[in-house]
């Protein structure tokens, strides 16, 4: 291997690592606040990428109907409860957000010639479709069992992952998609050609990480989420409801997932089931951070990205084996260093 190849591999590694870092942060956040292990994070990546791809090919993304369906269910459940309690205005609010919004969005996306829109608008519409599924998913799938053991929540996540992959196949078909790059220029750094998309990925990741840092450090809602993660009982006594915290967290996680998908769609061909492996690598990184430390998770993500890039050069057939076998020593180290008295349910 010469220097040039090493540089190219490093570039790949850092690009992928940046995405894994975003996903890892979301996973850590979701776990800390809700104790849910967010296996289906990868599906949000795929949904984001493929929804954008569908828009660009001028087709109405089927994900919008999923949003309508989920919203309708939430409306029936929460609106019903509100009506029962005689809170008509609240019921109307629930219906507006969960049914009115998806339908309006479907009308907009269906009515416009979305393939002719500028990229930035397409990305915005993609996020508008995919991201609200996060809090709705929390409401429908996790809120009823919010106090269940971690293992039950984990199995629910796995089940949702399976269901979302199936839906992905239905929505997007078995064909892989790749979207055009955000911009066409590339940067020459010595022997290395840095593509614009790489710069986009790294820049947006860094920006997003800084924004999240500000959100958690400065805003009261961000602090409330951190407080919930640190001490659930204490947070509840401050009036921070676990439901609010859960929905907010899932909103952020879905946003990060869908945005990651949009970012990598021009670099990798995304299939309906690609998300799982991408998400799982974010997972390896999150576990390196013990599902608790954000900086360690981000560092782990870069390590996973680089390991993957170099492994694909040396032993490309075994690259997945190498990356996933890495989890076991990491898990082992994690579970030996975290001293909690074990009494799982």
């Amino acid at each position: 291997m010469d220097m040039a190849i090493a540089l190219i591999l490093s570039q790949d590694g850092i690009t992928n690592g940046a995405i894994y870092a975003l996903l890892a942060l979301a996973l850590v956040l979701v776990f800390a606040v809700t104790r849910v292990i967010f296996i289906q994070q990868g599906e949000f990546v795929a949904y984001g990428a493929l929804t954008l791809a569908m828009m660009q090919s001028g087709v109405l993304p089927a994900t919008v109907w999923l949003l309508v369906a989920m919203g309708a269910l939430v409306t029936v459940l929460d609106g019903g409860l509100a009506l029962k309690a005689g809170q008509g205005r609240r019921a109307a609010g629930v219906a507006g957000w969960n049914l009115g919004y998806p339908l309006a969005l479907a009308a907009v996306v269906g009515g416009l010639a979305v393939d002719a829109l500028p990229l930035a608008l397409q990305v915005l519409l993609t996020l508008a479709i995919v991201v609200p599924m996060g809090p709705m998913m929390y409401r429908l799938m996790y809120q009823p069992i919010a106090s269940a053991p971690v293992l039950v929540l984990l199995i629910v996540s796995v089940a949702l992952h399976i269901a979302m992959v199936g839906l992905g196949l239905l929505f997007f078909g078995a064909e892989g998609q790749r979207t055009p790059a955000f911009s066409e220029f590339s940067l020459e750094l010595g022997p290395l050609m840095v593509s614009a998309q790489t710069l986009w990925v790294v820049a947006v990741s860094v920006l997003l990480i800084v924004a999240l840092y500000q959100f958690f450090g400065r805003t009261l809602y961000g602090k409330a989420l951190r407080a919930t993660a640190i001490n659930r009982v204490g947070a509840q006594l401050m009036g921070i409801s676990p439901t609010l915290a859960g929905k907010l967290t899932f909103f952020l996680a879905a946003f990060i997932g869908a945005l990651s998908g949009v970012l990598i769609a021009p670099i990798t061909t995304i299939y309906y089931d690609t998300g799982f492996l991408i998400g799982l690598k974010g997972f390896v990184a999150a576990i390196i951070g013990g599902l608790a430390s954000y900086p360690l998770a981000a560092a782990g993500a870069l390590a996973v990205g680089l390991l993957e890039a170099f492994a694909s050069f040396w032993a490309s057939a075994y690259k997945e084996v190498i990356v996933f076998t890495l989890i076991i020593p990491v898990l082992l180290w994690r579970s030996l260093t975290s001293h909690h008295v074990e009494e799982e349910e």
Partner: protein
Amino acid sequence: MRADRLVLGAFVALLLLVPAILSPYYVTLLNYIGLYAMVALGLVLLTGVGGLTSFGQAAFVGLGAYTTAALTTATDLPGWLAWAGASPWLTLLVGLLLTAAVAVLIGSLTLKLSGHFLPLGTIAWGISLYFLFGTMESLGGHTGISGIPAIALFGWTLDEGGEIYYLIWAFLLVAMLTTHNLLDSREGRAIRALKGGRVMAEAMGVDTSRSRMVIFVIAALLACASGWLYAHMQRFVNPTPFGVHIGIEYLFMAVVGGAGYVWGAIVGAGVITVLKQWLQNWLPSLLGATGNFETIVFGLLMVLVLHRAREGLWPILRKLVPVRTVRRTLDADAEPLPRRTLPKAGELILEAKEVTRRFGGLVANNNMSLEVRAGEILALIGPNGAGKSTMFNQISGVDTPTSGEVLFLGKPVAGHDSREIARMGMSRTFQHVKLLPTMSVLENVAIGAHLRSNKGVLSSAWRLDRAEEARILKEAARQIERVGLAEHMYEEAGSLALGQQRILEIARALCADPCLLLLDEPAAGLRFKEKEALGELLKKLRAEGMATLIVEHDMDFVMSLVDRVVVMEFGQKIAEGLPDEIQQNPAVLEAYLGGVE
């Protein structure tokens, strides 16, 4: 004839008739159900009973299938292995040995993982093994291996679906029987304690790490056998059926069927397999596209099961079948279990010498000394937060003092794990009751006798343990009668009132035949009459020479029962003496009522 035998007999008879009645399509379907149920059965043991969630079982199925496929089709086996290719029965043996070895290796790495890290670990090795099957050239890569011979049994070649059907279901029924036997035994109680009762089980002398490994290996072996049968049924293997998504499907089967129940495996495998078949025919035409859309339904079904019926379908189905679990019969003639010789009254049993325990800057116990003698009841009391629980942990060996030491029968407690301490004759109850709520009172108490018996996994699985089991149950029943719970003997422990559950813990502790009894708030939640009865029992034990240390809040109970009292505040001993002296002591009054000036 008992109703349950009748139902079982009818079920087996029906199974025997299937190939004669049903079309080959249904026979094939039943073959798959049998194969899947065997893997799901392993998960019942591992996940439902033992609480260890695995998404990676498909990899062990693959190990069994690939071992036999590679060995029976290879033409150039090295000399030392050449014998193995001669017959599928030999490759089954090789496969089981290999799987056991791999399971022990993977288990020793991943079973140490705590909580949710373990299932994540199983995803990791599940994926890794799957990619390995697909990338190794010698295993045919993604095209796989074909030309696998059929199994022959006494000259009868099982090369038709209707023939191997019998083998598959015979394997499954034998596996179910042995699993059922295993769970209903000394080892089985230890396994059933893994889920939510590890701390308690260790305190009763159960090696829970070993029990975890046992069920992990058994589950892997069941999966391996299923893989072996699969390879010889299909006569062809490729990596697809051994991926992590199939591993997830196996877990779904166990959970949907009822992960806590042996029969749940068949129900779950049946429901998921039939549903899959049906959905695969029906969904693509409905949706106008081809693909494995059944996963959508499975995923949502799974969420629904976890929301609405976390125990799975079997408990619901069981209500429809006129079968009730048979009450254990006690053998009055069983020989009593061996007993230890109790120390003579007045002999020093427990001695804490200047025990100090610091947590960072906080001193939870400061220079605490106390002693308990045979035939004496000592009470340790003090206001909330005085450090009594910490002291209790130092004495019971759960925690180690920063300085000072605790001697039990003259030997230091520090450095021994709960099991060794239990073996030395210290037995305890817990402040927050730790019992297995769905097990009967009798079985819960029987766990206490774990160290007084020794029959292992194989004897349990094949019912060679019955004489010893009768002795254990007789002893458990004796202790239950002694503490006054005889009328509740066959009820679920979780259905008892909290006070009775505390009494159950005392019976369990006594079942271990201890010479020192540590009781953590035994009277909490008891009614007046029950407290009186408990007091009488403790007095009787004292007369027999038992040494007892009791932490208690109920002052009436303490003062009328115990011989001596030690009072703690701020981690220190502030008074020690006879009950009457303590009640007059101004420092104690101050500690309990608080001072102002």
